[in-house]
């Protein structure tokens, strides 16, 4: 008789652990209530969480809804702000005017006309992003993506969040325990013995003894305790492609409580890396990602401080955190009866905030494809590994794209453009794109993380020269005009009606958003 999957143990209580446990529990809530499925999360009281990132994609709105959160509570508790995209400074030529945006907007009508074709043919004076998305205007004017009268989780334009990772974890923990029926243990896992078939039989904890489960989720961070240490799934570095290996981070105060809050993640290129700058309600989170082979930590700190000083703020040495990492991933994300989510699966520099969305996608895939009987686990594992191999490779390529297109002249940037460092598939696509713009059919998956529009925002934000021989049909030209005219109209309407970002956040604190 088939043995049912009845118990899941998640090891690790960071963002990855709670999001994964929560999304599985939300999807299988009725089975949890019938006690046909138990989810246990074991969290070490002594290991601090890294806090994977403070920037999300718009997908987080759906994730929060699935988990059953109110947006009002989330915004209040996590000091969250609304993110409308990313802004890249000095990535192309290292000049002050070298600025472009990668907004979250996906303009309507994209399935019928490729606006990048129009852009490459007509070469208009406006930037590509400003031409097709109102969000550039909104970002530059410091406006929120919604009004106080918008219901929770909906807005005038697409948005994700910036959040305080520590506060978010705390909120998730409370909700998962109180509402979603997850069993929580504050305990250290000391071992995870393997059975004859090479699968994990149980975890041994310090205070709660042995805990058996049918499926184990490794969310133990960089350590990768289950998948890496116990199951010996090897780490595959990709630092030949993405060369940064260190980050210094700090929390920075606003000059005044009324200071405007940026509605985008700002990424400013540096000599051997780049600096992220994220505005929450109560502070900014800033970090310098760099390659230690090209830049000493001392110099990296100097550049970091200079950036913060130029932004009108200060940071003391003792408030600077130093993180080392290696870009790369486990050879398999799901092995036997163990699947790793988050840093235990792999790490990439936080360019384009891929960490959090990868956790959401992983957790959703596990919840959605959760095998019913233990015999099905290998099938689910194979399917999962195929899917996430694909996502991982595409993410590495998309991050690499930002470096490959740069014209910056320091050794770090020059080495980043070396053909040996560029994944073959990306090199092929770049060759194609010198003669035509990226199109949806370049990316074959149904749930592609980075769609053609994202590539277009980066390519044309960085002045990539596509010498297209394509022409637009009369109908397509008309459609392109329609989309762009609609956008200009939208910019006009939205800049009149949308409130300042900070004003909206304060109103949410004061009045809250209605659910409808």
């Amino acid at each position: 008789m088939a043995s049912l999957v009845q118990s899941i143990v998640v090891v690790g209580g960071g963002t990855a652990g709670w999001l994964t446990a929560g999304l599985i529990a939300a999807e299988h809530q009725s089975r949890i209530q019938q006690r046909a499925l138990t989810i246990t999360l074991c969290e070490s009281p002594s290991v601090p969480t890294v806090g994977v990132g403070e920037g999300t994609w718009p997908t987080m709105r759906g994730t929060l809804q699935k988990l059953g959160f109110s947006e009002t509570e989330f915004v209040r508790r996590c000091h969250a702000s609304f993110k409308q995209g990313s802004r890249f400074d000095r990535w192309n030529e290292d000049t002050a005017s070298d600025v472009y945006y990668h907004p979250f907007a996906v303009p309507e009508g994209l399935s019928e006309v490729n606006l990048a074709d129009f852009y490459c043919i007509e070469k208009p004076s406006q930037s590509f992003a400003a031409l097709i998305s109102a969000q550039v205007s909104l970002c530059e004017r410091g406006l929120a993506p919604k009004q106080i009268t918008h219901p929770e989780f909906s807005g005038a334009v697409n948005y994700g969040y910036h959040l305080d990772a520590g506060a978010f974890t705390q909120l998730l923990r409370e909700h998962c325990i109180e509402t979603l029926g997850i069993r929580h243990l504050w305990d250290d896992v000391v071992a995870a013995p393997l059975g004859e078939d090479g699968a994990i039989t149980h975890i041994q904890t310090k205070a709660h003894g042995d805990i058996l489960a049918d499926l184990f989720v490794d969310c133990t961070g960089f350590r990768s305790f289950l998948l890496g240490e116990q199951l010996q799934v090897p780490f595959q570095p990709c630092n030949d492609v993405l060369m940064t290996d260190a980050a210094i981070t700090a929390h920075v105060a606003y000059p005044s409580p009324q200071a405007p809050i940026a509605g985008y993640t700002r990424s400013t290129a540096q000599e051997a890396g780049w600096i992220w700058d994220i505005g929450l309600q109560n502070r900014r989170g800033v970090g310098h990602v760099y390659a230690n082979d090209y830049l000493s930590t001392e110099k990296a700190v100097d550049q970091f401080k200079a950036y913060i000083a130029a932004s009108g703020a200060k940071v003391a040495d003792q408030d600077i955190r130093d993180i080392r990492f290696q870009a790369g991933r486990r050879a398999r994300f799901w092995h036997k009866n163990c699947v790793a989510v988050g840093l235990s699966a792999g790490f990439l520099e936080p360019l384009e905030a891929s960490a959090m969305v990868m956790i959401e996608l992983s957790a959703e895939a596990i919840a959605e494809q959760l095998p019913s009987v233990t015999a099905d686990i290998p099938i689910a594992a194979k399917h999962y590994n195929d899917t996430f191999d694909y996502h991982w490779q595409r993410t590495v390529e998309f991050l690499k794209l930002h470096y490959v297109l740069s014209r910056r002249q320091t050794p770090f940037w020059e080495d980043n453009r070396h053909p040996d460092s560029i994944p073959a598939r990306l090199a092929d696509l770049l060759a194609l794109w010198t003669h035509r713009a990226p199109r949806n059919s370049d990316f074959e998956r149904r749930s592609e993380l980075f769609q053609a529009i994202s590539y277009q925002y980066i390519l044309y934000g960085m002045a990539f020269p596509t010498a297209t021989v394509r022409t637009l049909s009369h109908r397509q030209a008309h459609l392109a005009d329609t989309v762009m005219a609609r956008n200009q109209k939208m910019i006009h309407g939205l800049t009149e009606t949308l409130p300042a970002h900070r004003d909206l956040l304060e109103k949410i604190h004061k009045y809250g958003l209605a659910s409808i």
Binding site: I148, A514, I516
Partner: protein, 240 residues
């Protein structure tokens, strides 16, 4: 035109001031919506379409009576007459305004007025004060309305919180046919979700009944029919 200067109503300064109906109604011809409080729902539901909207500044739900079907349109005023038996209190108190010293203070609201408003003069119309300096019946009525509006705000919020708690609100689109025969849709309105109300379990239903909210819910739903009346008035006005 100078911007209005509101001053506190003063029995000495405004002893001889009178309020004139014609210019007062004239100034209301562009008022498309009136904010109402809970106690007005049942009486007004006989004559006005009533809906729930969101306050544009706070996003909080509020009760409104629709006076027109377009911006700055009040179909209730025709030939200098208000075409209804009851008036929303917000219209009754016009052009007086209530000034609240501090949101959190317990100070009583202060009735203010703009003496230069065309509705006010020193002859004709209805006097604000009696010769002996007592508030006239008309002014007393206005004072009562302000008091009811202030006191009613809390009950209104309680009602709106209660229906939200039971998930009884739904966004609705108001649709009507304009005089040209085109379908027009108005958005940004909310109404009691009739199906959700009908599907309530006995327990929440009883609590809504006990608090009086149930009666208000049905009054709001019944008032929807007045949209057709307004559309009819619009067509009639258009033909004239």
């Amino acid at each position: 035109m100078t911007s209005p200067q509101y001053v506190p109503l003063d029995e000495k300064k405004h002893r001889h001031l009178t309020l004139n109906t014609a210019p007062r109604l004239q100034a209301l011809t562009q008022k498309d919506t009136a904010f109402i409080v809970l106690e007005e729902v049942v009486p007004l539901a006989n004559e006005y379409p009533l809906f729930i909207t969101k306050n544009p500044t706070t996003g909080q739900f509020q009760l409104v009576a629709l006076l027109g079907l377009d911006k700055r349109q009040n179909l209730f005023i025709e030939n200098g007459q208000w075409q209804a038996f009851f008036l929303p209190m917000e219209c009754t108190t016009y052009p007086f305004r209530l000034y609240l010293p501090e949101a959190d203070s317990s100070d009583r609201g202060l009735i203010t007025l703009d003496p230069n408003h065309p509705s006010f003069s020193n002859e004709g119309g209805t006097a604000l004060f009696t010769p002996s300096g007592e508030p006239s019946p008309m002014l007393t009525r206005i004072q009562q309305c302000f008091a009811s509006l202030m006191q009613g705000t809390e009950a209104t919020q309680r009602f709106l919180t209660e229906v939200q708690h039971h998930q009884l609100l739904e966004p609705v689109t108001i649709e009507y046919e304009n005089p040209a025969g085109d379908k027009v849709s108005l958005t940004g309105f909310y109404q009691i979700d009739e199906a959700a109300l009908a599907g309530l379990d006995p327990e929440p239903l009883k609590s809504l009944h006990d608090s009086g909210a149930l009666r208000t819910c049905y009054a709001l739903l019944n008032a929807r029919t007045h949209i057709e009346k307004l559309a009819h008035w619009l067509t009639r006005t258009h033909r004239q």
